[in-house]
C-alpha cells in the first residue's frame, strides 16, 4: 500500500506541477537532504534526492535543478554503481535531450541486471532516447508488436509512445490503455489517469477528439486534478474550436507553474483571438524561460526557442498543428 502512495507521489511530481504536487518535490528535497546530512554514504538517498531535483526541474524549468540532480546522481554512483544510478543518469540525459548519452547510460544499467530481472524501465528509457533521436524503428524493435503482449506498465507505455511517434493513434491508444490497466491493477490511479490521458493524446494529435473523449473520461475518473489531464482538456478545446476555453485552461496551468511550452500555446491562442497584448505577454514569458535554460547550458531549449520564434513570425497558427 505504501508503494502505491510512493508511486503516486513520484509520478505526480514528475508529470505535473500543481502547487500541491510541486510541494511534494520540495518535501522530498528537504527530506533526502536531511537524510544525506545524517547518512552521507547511502547511495540510495542520493538517488532519491536526484529524482526529487529532476522532478523539480520538470516543474519549474529551472536548470539549476537539473545540475543538482546530476550532482546527486554522480554522488550516488561514486558510492556504489547501481542499476538505478545508471538509470537516473539516463533519465537526466534524456530530459536534457542528450539522447545518445541516455542510451549509453541505459546500456550501463542493462549490463548490471541479470536474468533474474526483467527491467521494463530500461527498455522504456531506451525507447525514449531512440525516439528522441528519430530512430523509431529501432525503438519499435525493442518492444512487442502488440499491446496485449506488453507484460508491464513500462513496456506498454513505451509501446504507446512508439506508436504515437509513428502516427498510429489506434495502436498507441491501445498500448496506453493497457498501461492504464497495469497501473489500475496496482491501485496507482494517478498513473492510470496518465496512461488514459496519453491514449487520448494520441487521438488528439491525430485530430480526432471524438475518439479521445472516452479516454479522457476514464482519465477524469482516475485523476481529474492532474496537470497532464487538464493540459489535454485544453488541447481538446482548441481542437474543437473553443480557443477561449483552451486559453483559459492554459493560463490557469501557467498560474500554477510556469512552462514555456504552455506559454507558447497560450501565445498562439491569444493571437488567434486577436488579443495582441495577451499574446505578447505569453511570448515574452516563453522566451524568458527558454533563454534561462539556454544560459544555463541546456541546449534542449535551443530547438524550442527556434520553434517559438518561427511561431512568432508566422501567420495565425493553430496550436494543434504545431504538434
Amino acid at each position: 500500500m505504501r508503494r502505491i502512495f510512493m508511486l503516486a507521489a513520484i509520478a505526480a511530481a514528475s508529470c505535473a506541477s500543481s502547487p500541491q504536487e510541486a510541494s511534494d518535490a520540495d518535501a522530498r528535497i528537504q527530506y533526502y537532504s536531511g537524510r544525506i546530512e545524517a547518512h552521507p554514504g547511502v547511495y540510495a538517498l542520493h538517488l532519491g534526492l536526484a529524482q526529487a531535483y529532476l522532478d523539480k526541474a520538470r516543474e519549474t524549468h529551472d536548470p539549476s535543478f537539473i545540475h543538482a540532480a546530476l550532482a546527486e546522481s554522480d554522488a550516488s554512483l561514486s558510492l556504489l554503481e547501481s542499476v538505478e544510478g545508471f538509470k537516473m543518469k539516463a533519465r537526466i540525459a534524456a530530459f536534457r535531450h542528450h539522447f545518445d548519452e541516455a542510451l549509453e547510460w541505459a546500456a550501463k544499467a542493462e549490463a548490471l541486471t541479470t536474468a533474474d530481472v526483467d527491467d521494463g524501465a530500461i527498455a522504456a528509457l531506451k525507447v525514449e532516447a531512440l525516439l528522441g533521436l528519430g530512430r523509431a524503428d529501432e525503438a519499435r524493435a525493442l518492444l512487442p508488436a502488440r499491446a496485449e503482449d506488453a507484460d508491464g506498465f513500462h513496456v506498454a507505455a513505451a509501446l504507446g509512445h512508439v506508436y504515437a511517434a509513428i502516427g498510429s493513434p489506434d495502436l498507441a491508444a491501445a498500448a496506453f490503455a493497457r498501461a492504464a490497466a497495469f497501473a489500475e491493477a496496482e491501485g496507482a490511479d494517478q498513473l492510470a489517469g496518465w496512461a488514459e490521458t496519453s491514449a487520448a493524446g494520441a487521438y488528439l494529435d491525430a485530430g480526432d477528439a471524438a475518439l479521445a473523449n472516452p479516454h479522457l473520461e476514464r482519465a477524469k475518473g482516475f485523476d481529474a486534478d492532474s496537470r497532464f489531464f487538464r493540459t489535454h482538456l485544453a488541447e481538446r478545446a482548441a481542437l474543437e474550436g473553443r480557443p477561449a476555453e483552451a486559453l483559459a485552461v492554459y493560463e490557469r496551468l501557467i498560474a500554477e507553474a510556469d512552462d514555456p511550452e504552455l506559454r507558447r500555446r497560450a501565445f498562439l491562442l491569444a493571437r488567434l483571438q486577436g488579443d495582441a497584448t495577451r499574446a505578447a505577454a505569453h511570448l515574452v514569458a516563453a522566451e524568458r524561460l527558454l533563454r534561462a535554460a539556454l544560459d544555463a547550458g541546456e541546449s534542449y531549449a535551443r530547438a524550442d526557442l527556434a520553434r517559438l520564434r518561427a511561431d512568432a513570425d508566422g501567420a495565425d497558427v493553430a496550436p494543434r498543428s504545431e504538434r
Binding site: R2, S14, T114, V117, L125
Partner: protein
Amino acid sequence: MRIEKFFAGLALALAAAAGAAPAIAADHGDTPNLIALARHDARISDLHVFRDGDNLVLALSTFPNLAALSYRFPSDLTLRLHIDNHSAVSFDNPVDNAQFGGTIVDPEGVGADITLTFTFDRNGTLELATSGLSGRQEKNIKLFAGMRDDPFIRGPQIGRNVAAIVVEFPLADALGEKPQKKKRKPKAKPENKTLLVWATSDVPDIAGPYSELGARALRSQCPQPVCVGVDGADLNLRNETSPHQYALLLNLRPDVVIYDASRPAAFPNGRALTDDVVNLIAPFGQNILANDYPCPSANDVPFLADFPYLAPPQYGVAPPGPGPACPL
C-alpha cells in the same frame, strides 16, 4: 517537445519508482517497496541456518546482485536475526516436514527469545547489540560482515556477490540451555531442541519505515494463495507482518526457518550452504524458480570449510543470460 517530456517524464518516473520489476523468482525479489526505493542494500536475499560442530551458524545475505568492487554497509540500515527457542514444533505431518521442516504448534506464540541487532556507522563498521544473551554469551559470538560470493545456488546468481553477515556461537546458547551442574538431576521434561530463526531489515523512508522479513527464503509460503500471481502489495504485507501474526492476518504459516538441532541441518530442516534449494522446493513451488539457467546444483565457487564459510566475492564475472527452463 515539452509535451513529449511530459509523456516521457511520467514513464520514467514510474521507472524510478518501481525500479526493476522482480521476476517470478527467488526471495531476491520479494520486497517491492525496497526495490522501488533502490534500497537493495536493505533487501534480504537468503538466510542459511546450519551447524559447525557444537556451534550454530547463521548466514544472512543482503543486497542481491551486488556488483561492486567494495562495499560499505549503509549507516541507516538495521538488520536483525531473531531466534525463537521456546515454540514447540511437531513433526507428525510428513507434508509439512517436507515443505517447511515441521509444523509450528502455536503459530501465534512465535516470538524472539534472542535477537542480534546489527547496525553500521558511517564507515560501515558493524555494531552488534543483543538481547536474550548474557554478556558472556555475547562474547562467544564470532562475527563477519562484508561482501561475499552470493551463496544462493541458482543460475542468475553465478558470478554475483552479496553483502553478508555471518554469526557463529554455541548452539547451547541459542537453545537457551543452562550450563549443567554435575549433580543436577535430569529434567523430567525434554528440552526444546528446535529453533525458529528469521531475519529482518529496516530502513527509514519518507513514506515511513520499510521492513523486510526474510526467513526460509525462496518464497517458502508458496504455493499458498498469497504467492500466486506474485503481487507487490501482498509481498509488502508479508514483509510488514511479524511471524506471530502470519496465521492470524495472512492465514499463513509463520515465515521462519525451522531447525531441529537434534538432526543434521539440511533444507528444510535449517538450510545448509550446499543445499540446492531451487531443486528441493521445486515439487512444492509451482515452478516459481524456473529461471535457474544453467541449472547449477552446486555453488559456482566452493564454500569455505571454516568461518565465515561463504566464499570470497567474485569480480568481473558476467552472470549467465536467460536460457531454457531447467528440468524439474
